[in-house]
Assembly symmetry: C2
Homo-oligomer: 284 residues x 2
């Protein structure tokens, strides 16, 4: 693992690393925010809770790190923030033939692809759930018993599905403008058909609405959605998740934000509320 | 004037416009943050203080708007924030022949060029001091008796020199890692030689250290400087300004920030303190 950037930020350190990913078969970049509590304490005497952030289509690890203002709240509340990339990258990793923004590079959908040519590299589910956390635990003073996850849009889908499939690992999950049911939207159908094949029964393993319906263990869930989001009706469809949560008694806190769109200006406006939500669950 | 973007942000609106600049002889883009106080009040019943932000080398209006997190504090304290571009742009506007990052496009240095071929378009001083404020006052509910200015690096130089030359107009000035004496650093010498010619007496009109020495009217001045800034020794040289302020009794509040560099992570970490500094001066 190689450190490629380091910037002081809100009393802590915003760090960036490259490492060789075995499950993805390529080099990957990720970012870690270490709040000031780390430096202030004896080197290995303190372990802090960690929150994983998953970004949306076209993003790398950098968009959230530069635009969301998360470091301010994370510093105040003493959380480590880990921000991975959104897909495998590099020479040999296949991309959409026409370079579409919503499939291939930058659009890994946080799943394990089963179809050629994607199945060789596109294992973002295993990367986020297993390989990256092992790297984080080896190199940073995280308290593995206190983990949460959140994300935006495609990354909201990733956070919700990964948390729903691993409720014993995460204390809480939240999302900004998530794709709640990829089975039921054009972005998801395109990606799942290519990555997972035509058999739609395989798709339900990566669909938050389907997973909520079968969830045995419930963890606190928070969703913020802008009312002026250009993708609300066609792609995001939060009502599908609200209805599934209502039917099953899943504890969802849902905020509709009047006039907000799909941008980082929306995320920045409410990031502190999400950090406080996770800090509450993690410090309980 | 044409609105080209609008995003809800921290209860207010982050707006972006294009307009034809007469003094620059080209189309220009600028951004305006309107805090929630505007929407909440009757349309023309309220006028808010305004703070101008000047960005550094290579930036447009967007870097600060997307990365500094200024909207949070501006919303809380009820300030309008105006963010112009850093130079004239577009077809016909000359650039450095080799496309250098520190001269020409993106590097207007907030002065009025007197030398060919720059003197036709490069009048950023007049644009920031006269044309843009007139546009802002015409279209937005600003209280013109309450204006302040701040900036970063080359924009810190711009903020300091413009405030020092117009102390009756600005209630306060602040800067992150400013170029305090372009006469005495490679960035400044290169730019001033090209824009202003070989006669260095013309340079002093745009040198904060020279201007402080002759300042009759003092306004509150705040500077934050990272100790790990890669440009500190060769380009920024804050000690020159500190010494000039000490000699003349100019009220400078100077913070050295241990381990911080020249990046937006540094700006974001202390932006709220700068906004509070200006709000104090503007609401007095």
């Amino acid at each position: 693992m190689k450190k490629i950037a380091s910037n002081n930020c809100f009393g802590g350190e915003q760090l960036r690393f490259r490492h060789n990913s075995t499950v993805l078969g390529c080099e990957m970049t990720f970012s870690v925010y270490l709040p000031h509590q780390i430096g202030a304490a004896a080197a290995d005497a303190i372990r802090l809770p960690v929150v994983y952030w998953l970004s949306g289509l076209t993003c790398t690890d950098e968009n959230f790190v530069q635009k969301a203002g998360v470091q301010r709240a994370a510093s105040k509340l003493g959380l480590i923030i880990v921000t991975p990339d959104t897909s495998p990258r590099g020479e040999g990793v296949p991309d959409d033939e026409e370079g579409a923004y919503d499939f291939g590079l930058g659009a890994g959908f946080y799943l394990n692809a089963t179809q050629e040519p994607w199945s060789k590299h596109y294992h973002m589910y295993d990367y986020i759930c297993q390989e990256l956390p092992a790297v984080i635990e080896e190199h940073f003073p995280v308290d593995s018993s206190r983990q949460s996850i959140f994300g935006h849009s495609m990354g909201g889908h990733g956070a919700l599905t990964i948390a729903l499939k691993n409720p014993d690992r995460f204390k809480s999950v939240s999302a900004f403008a998530p794709i709640v049911s990829p089975i039921n939207c054009p972005w998801g159908v395109k990606a799942f058909k290519n990555y997972l094949g035509e058999d739609t029964t395989a798709w339900e393993k990566y669909d938050a609405v389907a997973l909520v319906k079968n969830a045995k263990t419930h963890i606190p869930m928070l969703i913020d959605q802008g009312s002026a989001d250009q993708f609300l009706e066609e792609q995001l469809k939060p009502s599908l998740l609200m209805e599934a949560c209502r039917q099953t008694g899943y504890p969802l806190r849902y905020n509709i934000r009047d006039g907000y769109d799909h941008s980082f200006f929306f995320i920045a406006s409410f990031i502190e509320e999400h950090i406080r939500f996770h800090a509450d669950a993690l410090n309980r």
